[in-house]
């Protein structure tokens, strides 16, 4: 059967059939030998339960049987019963308590059930206490297995509920962490036979563990040590390192109660340690490495548990970084001699990168908790940076290093310039197509915005570069930019940013071309038939593309040749990346304008209005793109003018020029309509005292000419009739202007009468729909009759501010509560 059929079957099963199935299963579970059929039925039961949205309650006898299975010797049955029970409503507290009490027999699958069925914080606290107790009371050589799952279970609870552990528990576990991390055995575990790593008798002389490159480990055990088999404490070493960062982060803020050392003492200690650590010469003896890390360990015996753990974490990470360095060097040598790399080696290489990330992050945690550690840590971080920074394949490790520099560079008085250059200039420019790096880098930015603005304010300059992530994979990172954008808009960047956002689809196309031109040899370019690729390679257009691909703000300016660029990229209009990118631009523009309205001064806003007018006709020709952008422009033109009405008078020259161009009626209808509206609305002495009669008259004449032109002839070939909204907006604007300068009333009245006469004859060339024409004429007649009483017309068409923003509700005399109170009193007195 196909999966789909199974699925539908399990959702539509009948209740009676189900009851039969349950009772058959109970019978099966009563048998001594649980065979294939039982396993198969349990799988089916799990499917039935999990495929349904709503929980089904199992019959109690079946549930009892399943609970018993949790401690079955066969793991598959434990797994299945745990999985089935997880899909049912929680069992009664008693049953769960029974499982929990027997913590020594608890297995990983039963623990998973307990965690997932916990009904309250108290349940979890109890479970935590039991587990910690189990860890603590266990003799080190007892029967094992359960220890290894205890830590992950604890961690999974603590993640969501850190207060489940008492201060005492935290101290106990911190001590345990120290033991596992720093003092795991350095000889290989018993034979690697299945099921018993730890229990097998050691028949031969224990061998020391090895480093990944095969040499004998010269220092304490870490996750990068290998052997034929592993001892329990070596497993715990792996588990505790895997949890270490979480642990430090979770209990970082809780103060350690019995800490007696003050900061000055700690500082002194750390200085003396850093001194002993700084002569970092490794001595190689018989191929084994004795690192200097362990040489510093004796001093920390006296520390309280949490600080001791910090110290050990520090040592562990230092050793990991050393180990990675050694193998990286060895790897480079191998690569140089071109030895083939095995799959195993590959997975370990990846592991080493992950280890370096973790080590740097843990060191960061340690230093955040105890700033005196910064001086001891920085030398190795610096060394790591200088080794890795030239190779971009280590970019993912360099990000946590950058975080370290950001957090601690100031204390250590380290120059961070080169770090920011790398992260904000090289990474986006060369790795824009790495989705993981994009995700992490943008998260780094989001989480550190305040800190970056303080310590690395120059990052704003790299804005065009950062936008490459958005241009390349807009749907994946648009969320990040929605969050970031408001902080990136400043007075200095606003204008360039607007242009950059509008040209984002061009950037997207250029990035595609950049990658293609790198991957295709020049001779093949023409065979692909991409004109834009040829253009990309053509030295004559190099400057244009370089401008789009610029790393920093303010380098170059090509607005004059933008239309050339759009022509060159015309064929990119249907590339999926470009189309997706064009879809996110309007969203970001809205955010941009909302922010700009709050940060910018009048002069800048005036400039932005000009840019809008200019760019409304200068966009990459993607279907729907222009229309969407025009919609955004219109919306924000209106908002900006409403916010600062004097902008209209300031920019009246440019606005009139735009409104006087008849072609705009057809190609930029939306923007045009709004420009006309703001002119009609805000070109009045009440909005700005500088507004003169001459200005009103010149505006009137400009609009009148356009209205006359579009209503006296058919639209130019290739365009449709102007929308009725444009015509009525023009009419209203004219009427408004006329109401402010009464000399103009006869002229507009004349137009309205002509309009009525023209419409009486039936159809006109400039309006295809009869209903539309009727609506236009009606509107004209309304305005006409209004203008017959100029005084009324003025107060209707340009109402005074107190009418526009009524505040009656604030007037207590008129307020509803007062009226209600009066009424109540009246009714009650009767």
């Amino acid at each position: 059967m196909k999966p789909r059929v199974f699925w539908l079957f399990s959702r539509e099963i009948h209740e009676t059939e189900l009851q039969k199935f349950y009772s058959r299963l109970v019978k099966l579970l009563q048998l001594k030998e649980l065979g294939h059929e039982t396993v198969d039925s349990l799988h089916r039961l799990h499917l039935i339960l999990s495929a349904n949205k709503y929980a089904r309650t199992l019959p109690s006898d079946l549930q009892q049987r399943l609970l018993l299975l949790l401690s079955s010797p066969a793991e598959q049955l434990q797994v299945l019963s745990s999985a089935v029970l997880r899909e049912t409503p929680p069992s009664s507290g008693e049953e769960l308590n029974n499982i929990q009490e027997n913590v020594s027999q608890l297995n990983t699958h039963a623990a998973a059930l307990l965690v997932s069925q916990a009904r309250s914080r108290t349940d979890l606290n109890n479970l935590c206490a039991q587990l910690v107790h189990g860890l603590e009371g266990r003799p080190s050589d007892g029967p094992t297995r359960s220890l290894t799952f205890t830590l992950p279970v604890l961690n999974s609870i603590l993640r969501l509920s850190p207060e489940s552990l008492t201060e005492e528990h935290v101290a106990i576990l911190s001590k345990k962490f120290v033991d596992w991390l720093r003092y795991a055995s350095i000889v290989q575990g018993g034979g690697a036979s299945a099921g018993g790593f730890f229990t097998g008798p050691r028949s031969r002389q224990p061998l020391p563990t090895a480093e990944l490159d095969g040499s004998v480990s010269g220092d304490f055990f870490t996750v990068l040590c290998v052997g034929q088999g592993f001892t329990e404490d070596q497993w715990m070493n792996v588990y505790s390192f895997s949890m270490l960062r979480q642990w430090l982060l979770t209990y970082h803020s809780v103060s350690s109660g019995n800490s007696t050392m003050d900061t000055a003492n700690r500082l002194q200690l750390s200085l003396s340690l850093s001194h002993s650590f700084s002569n970092d010469d490794r001595s190689e003896v018989d191929g084994s490495v004795v690192s200097m890390v362990s040489a510093t360990s004796s001093t920390s015996r006296l520390l309280p548990p949490k600080e001791r753990l910090r110290e050990k974490a520090f040592q562990y990470c230092q050793r990991l970084i050393e180990q990675c360095d050694r193998t990286c060097e060895a790897e480079r040598r191998r690569e140089f001699l071109s030895f083939p790399s095995e799959a195993q080696k590959k997975s370990d290489t990846e592991l080493q990168k992950a280890c370096m990330v973790e080590a740097v992050c843990v060191l960061d945690c340690v230093c955040v908790e105890d700033p005196s550690m910064v001086f001891r840590t920085f030398p190795s971080i610096k060394a790591l940076f200088s080794r890795l920074s030239s190779d971009l394949s280590y970019a993912r490790i360099l990000l946590p290093i950058a975080q370290f520099y950001l957090n601690h560079g100031e204390i250590a008085a380290v120059d961070c310039e080169c770090v920011w250059k790398l992260v904000f200039a090289r990474f986006p420019a060369e790795l824009f197509n790495d989705p993981f790096l994009a995700h992490e880098l943008l998260r780094f930015l989001r989480q550190n915005l305040d800190s970056l603005r303080l310590r690395a304010p120059e990052f704003i300059r790299f804005l065009p570069n950062l936008l490459k992530f958005l241009a390349w994979d807009s749907s994946a990172v648009v969320d990040d930019f929605v969050d970031l954008l408001p902080s990136l808009v400043t007075e200095g960047t606003a204008v360039e940013m607007l242009h950059t956002l509008l040209d984002l689809p061009c950037l997207s196309a250029s990035l595609v071309l950049q990658l293609r031109s790198m991957s295709l040899p020049i001779s093949e370019s023409s065979s692909r038939g991409l004109l834009s690729l040829d253009a990309f390679r053509n030295p004559a257009f190099r400057g244009l593309f370089l401008f789009l691909l610029r790393v920093e703000t303010g380098s170059g300016h090509t607005i004059d040749r933008l239309s050339t660029l759009h022509d060159l990229l015309a064929e990119a209009a249907d590339w999926p990346r470009v189309v997706r990118c064009a879809q996110v631009v309007p969203v970001l523009l809205h955010i941009y304008f909302n922010t700009v309205a709050t940060v910018a001064e009048e002069k800048l806003l005036a400039h932005l209005i000009l840019v809008m007018l200019e760019r409304s006709g200068l966009l990459l020709a993607i279907p729907m793109y222009s229309r969407e952008i025009h919609r955004v422009f219109s919306c924000h033109l209106l908002r900006l003018c409403k916010l600062r009405p004097s902008l209209v008078v300031d920019q009246s020259h440019e606005l009139l020029e735009f409104a006087g161009t008849t072609a705009n009626v057809y190609s930029k209808e939306e923007v045009y309509t709004h420009v006309v509206w703001v002119l009609g609305e805000y070109l009045s002495a009440s909005s700005d005292s500088r507004c003169s009669v001459a200005l009103i008259t010149s505006c009137f004449e400009t609009l009148e000419a356009v209205l006359f032109e579009i209503t006296s002839s058919a639209p130019p070939p290739g365009s449709v009739c102007p929308a009725p909204k444009v015509i009525t907006t023009l009419m209203s604007a004219l009427a408004k202007l006329a109401s402010r300068s009464h000399d103009l009333i006869p002229r507009v009245s004349l137009f309205f009468s002509k309009l009525r006469t023209a419409a009486r004859n039936g159809s006109v060339a400039w309006c295809a729909d009869e209903d539309d024409l009727v609506a236009i004429v009606t509107r004209g007649e309304e305005l006409w009759s209004l203008l017959k009483a100029p005084g009324v017309a003025q107060s209707v068409l340009t109402p005074p501010p107190h009418v526009l923003t009524p505040r009656w509700h604030r007037d207590t005399n008129l307020a509803m509560p007062l009226q209600l109170r009066v009424l109540t009193r009246l009714t009650h007195s009767q």
Partner: protein, 200 residues
């Protein structure tokens, strides 16, 4: 800590509408967020279960659209592969990461790693502090094992009726959602353990 591992469809299937994804396997780790939330009203177990199921399907849908967008953008559509070509298919798999905002659907922000193999999505929901580089390697390894042991390429997929195999796999390679730093020796011994446990 990983919050959730799931296997789901990423191409249109049967009766589902285009944007939907069918979850073939899902495993949530750790206690239920809703139990610990400081909501004014406590959820009933029934509501909590429904919430969890919805969370999983939100993730599946988000990943499905991410996979299809990524395939559309790169212009690569998966070619049909036969059983036996698992390694090859895995090598060609699309991969990426999706950000889930806090509250949508998990209470904290999450990073969702995904691998798109043919019509299947393999997805890990990771917490903000998780080591994504490590998680990627683990996701790849888990996916390889799932493809191998459940014969997920081709028609006779056993994912729905052999879910215990995935549970056993997860209990070793991703115990309770914990990402582990395992070198190849540790991985080998765990894999042996998994194999013997499945064979019993």
């Amino acid at each position: 800590m990983v919050r959730c591992f799931l296997i789901h469809t990423v191409s249109p299937v049967g009766a589902l509408s285009a944007g939907e994804s069918r979850v073939l396997y899902s495993r949530l780790f750790g206690p239920d967020e809703a139990v610990l939330s400081k909501q004014p009203r406590e959820f009933t177990p029934e509501e909590r279960r429904l919430l969890q199921k919805e969370k999983v399907s939100v993730v599946a849908r988000r990943v499905q659209s991410a996979v299809s967008l990524s395939r559309e953008a790169s212009g690569r559509q998966p070619v049909d592969a036969a059983p036996g070509e698992e390694a090859l298919v895995l090598q060609d798999a699309d991969s990426g990461v999706v950000r889930l905002r806090a509250g949508d659907p998990f209470s904290e922000e999450m990073s969702v790693l995904w691998l798109g193999v043919q019509s299947l999505g393999f997805t890990l929901v990771c917490e903000p502090h998780d080591n994504l580089l490590l998680a990627e390697g683990i996701l790849r390894n888990l996916t390889r094992h799932c493809l191998d042991s459940l014969h997920m390429l081709g028609q006779g997929s056993e994912v729905l009726l052999k879910s215990s195999r995935i549970d056993i796999l997860l209990s070793r390679l991703l115990p309770h959602g914990q990402l582990l730093f395992l070198n190849h020796r540790f991985t080998q011994s765990l894999e042996k353990e998994v194999a013997s446990s499945m064979a019993k």
